[in-house]
Amino acid sequence: MNAPVYNFAYLDEQTKRMIRRAILKAIAIPGYQVPFASREMPMPYGWGTGGVQVTASILGPDDVLKVIDQGSDDTTNAISIRKFFGKTAGVATTASTTEATVIQTRHRIPEAPLHAGQVLVYQVPIPEPLRFLEPRETETRRMHALGEYGLMHVKLYEDIARFGHIATSYAYPVKVNARYVMDPSPTPKFDNPKMDNCAALQLFGAGREKRIYAIPPYTEVVSLDFEDHPFTRYRFDAPCALCGAEDAYLDEIVTDDAGSRMFVCSDTDYCEARQAAGHRGRESAAPHKERAYD
């Protein structure tokens, strides 16, 4: 039998070079979706194959990798991807936002500010911000080419007309470098302002849809809004029950079947670092943490 042999970080060097070319083009045209010949990865489409291909292509042996899903390092898919690179690339991994050189994420931007030299790799399910307004790729590409974003503004306006405010809570569209309207991936809109003028390079990989896009460091990223209905962040109005943070995005955890719930930081690294620094919320421990047993 032809026993399989795999390269450093799984992908062959030719494929990595092809992806890096797409990344360079994406950086040169901020917010523009660059088509690339996405490969079948050993995890399913929709489970981070775009982000994994981007990470595999930029990863070097000296990199320190952090992988988060829903803000947490120990969600199952984050563990699976981190182990994948631990196995195929042998790179150091970390849960610390500041120590990591490459952070692959799904659905969140870390709370701790990113610094120059870091790369944040987003997993993107549907890269096209106009997709749910216009299902055809041929049409949406034309709309981007012409900068024809009226449809999106009409959608936002209709929200205001119906609900009194813009009723988009995640994957909230942004305009990058005053040119392309871009989907920030399904991050809560709470995270949108962190993309603006960010010191780190932000790369977005959509494997199934075969698109890569980027926000270079220190690029203007504006959440779409209207003068009389400015963009607002949403955050549940409570401190974190564990670390008392007032400024972090919170997970709602249902603690029993009688309607009790607690709110804790979605970014586990941020929360744990704050607890280690002596910050306390009104609860002392997370419920349902995996039991240690032998």
């Binding site: 039998m1 032809n2 795999y6 390269n7 799984y10 992908l11 062959d12 088509p35 010949a37 996405s38 490969r39 079948e40 990865m41 050993p42 399913p44 489409y45 929709g46 489970w47 194959t49 899903d69 829903q70 120990d74 969600t75 199952t76 898919n77 563990i79 799904r106 659905h107 969140r108 399910p125 790729e137 205001i160 007309a161 119906r162 609900f163 009194g164 405010h165 009723a167 809570s169 995640y170 399904p186 991050t187 809560p188 809109k189 199934r208 075969k210 949403y234 955050r235 549940f236 995005y249 997970d251 709602e252 955890i253 979605s266 997370a286 419920p287 349902h288 943490k289 995996e290 039991r291």
Partner: protein, 368 residues
């Protein structure tokens, strides 16, 4: 329980250990071997090779075993391995006209040069469960006779001689063959890419799409001009020696559909083609593929595009079962960050709604 999502490292390991245990099943029952799969579940192997786009019976059998018989999972395993293989080049086009035939039928002519050959087929069997097959059944040796030496031209070539069917489009020999696994797909797509997409497409999806054209959604009046299954030689042009060298042989099924075409102001009425090709014996797949190929030619033939099966963006974007299953099943991944945002929004909307009930003018004012 929350544990299912957070802190799952040990949970993942244990789940995979349990999976391996379940895959093996009752350990008192003999383990299934790869030769048993390639020999006795050959059509499953054919499908995994076709949709996995990799002609390797042994790896396909391994994938089927590893996937516990889940075909899409097996196809996925083969695809993920294939993605890492280096490309040496493209072979010479295979000549299906010179196929060593094991089966060949035409529904358009009663007799054809070289004859109709039924070969191994489920057709005309009565679908009655056969208890004799349960164990220890020894089938009769197949009937044999002298192989006919007459040529077996393709039926569409016979029609082509009288100009009754459009000529098969000639590829530009200098132009490289499109490969959607190496270049991202863009629309409109050329026919080579469409055919590649359909050859890799999910059999069930193609079947439903082809079926929909028969039921009137993009009807194109098909006849099964010819279906042939057999072995063809594969040759590779070696630059060093300056001629094509044989690489080996493949089993293929080819289906040529013959479809009506009314003609246009500039073109006389003639039959048009729909083409299907797959590894191994895959008749349902190739027939469906030929129907869908023909319906996707609507734009090229100046037909009105009204039905889903005529819409290349719709068909090609949703035909790949590895892509489709990944995205559908990704809904199993945690979405609680987005869901939290939606909860917040919904609570606000409901609060606004309750307040608007108290003051019916408020919502209208916001809109103005």
């Amino acid at each position: 329980m929350y544990v299912a999502v957070k802190g799952g490292e040990r949970a993942i390991e244990n789940a995979h250990r349990l999976l391996a245990h379940e895959r093996r099943g009752d350990r008192d029952v003999a383990e299934v071997t790869l030769p048993q799969i390639t020999e006795q579940l050959g059509l499953a192997v054919d499908r995994v090779m076709s949709e996995g786009s990799l002609y390797d019976r042994e790896l396909a059998a391994l994938a089927i075993k590893q996937a516990r018989g889940d075909m899409i999972e097996a196809i996925f395993l083969v695809r993920a391995f294939r993605a890492t293989l280096p490309r040496l080049g493209a072979t010479e086009p295979v000549d299906t006209g010179n196929m060593r035939l094991r089966r060949r039928i035409s529904s358009t002519f009663k007799d054809i040069p070289g004859g109709q050959i039924l070969g191994p087929t489920f057709d005309y069997t009565h679908r009655l469960l056969d208890p004799d097959l349960a164990e220890g059944f020894v089938p009769q040796q197949p009937a044999t006779s002298q192989a006919a030496s007459a040529p077996t031209p393709r039926v569409t070539d016979i029609l082509g001689r009288d100009g009754l069917i459009e000529p098969s489009p000639r590829a530009d020999a200098d132009k490289p063959v499109g490969d959607l696994t190496r270049e991202p797909l863009s629309f409109p797509a050329d026919r080579d890419l469409r055919l590649q997409n359909l050859a890799r497409a999910d059999e069930g999806f193609l079947l439903a799409m082809g079926y929909s054209t028969q039921r009137g959604y993009g009807r194109n009046h098909p006849f099964a001009g010819e279906i042939r299954f057999g072995e063809v030689e594969v040759e590779f042009f070696a630059e060093d020696v300056g001629f094509a060298v044989p690489l080996g042989s493949l089993e293929l099924t080819e289906c040529q559909m013959v479809n009506q075409f009314k003609g246009s102001a500039t073109e006389a009425p003639c039959f048009t083609r729909g083409y299907g090709l797959a590894f191994g014996q895959s008749e349902r797949k190739t027939m469906s593929m030929a129907l869908v190929d023909r319906s996707l030619r609507a734009r090229e033939l100046g037909e009105e595009v009204l039905a889903p099966a005529q819409d290349e963006e719709f068909v090609m974007s949703h035909s790949d079962n590895v892509q489709a299953t990944g995205f559908v099943e990704h809904l199993k991944l945690p979405h609680y960050v987005d869901f939290q945002s939606e909860l917040g929004l919904l609570r606000k909307l409901r609060k606004d709604f309750a307040e608007a009930d108290d003051n019916p003018h408020r919502m209208r004012e916001a809109a103005e």
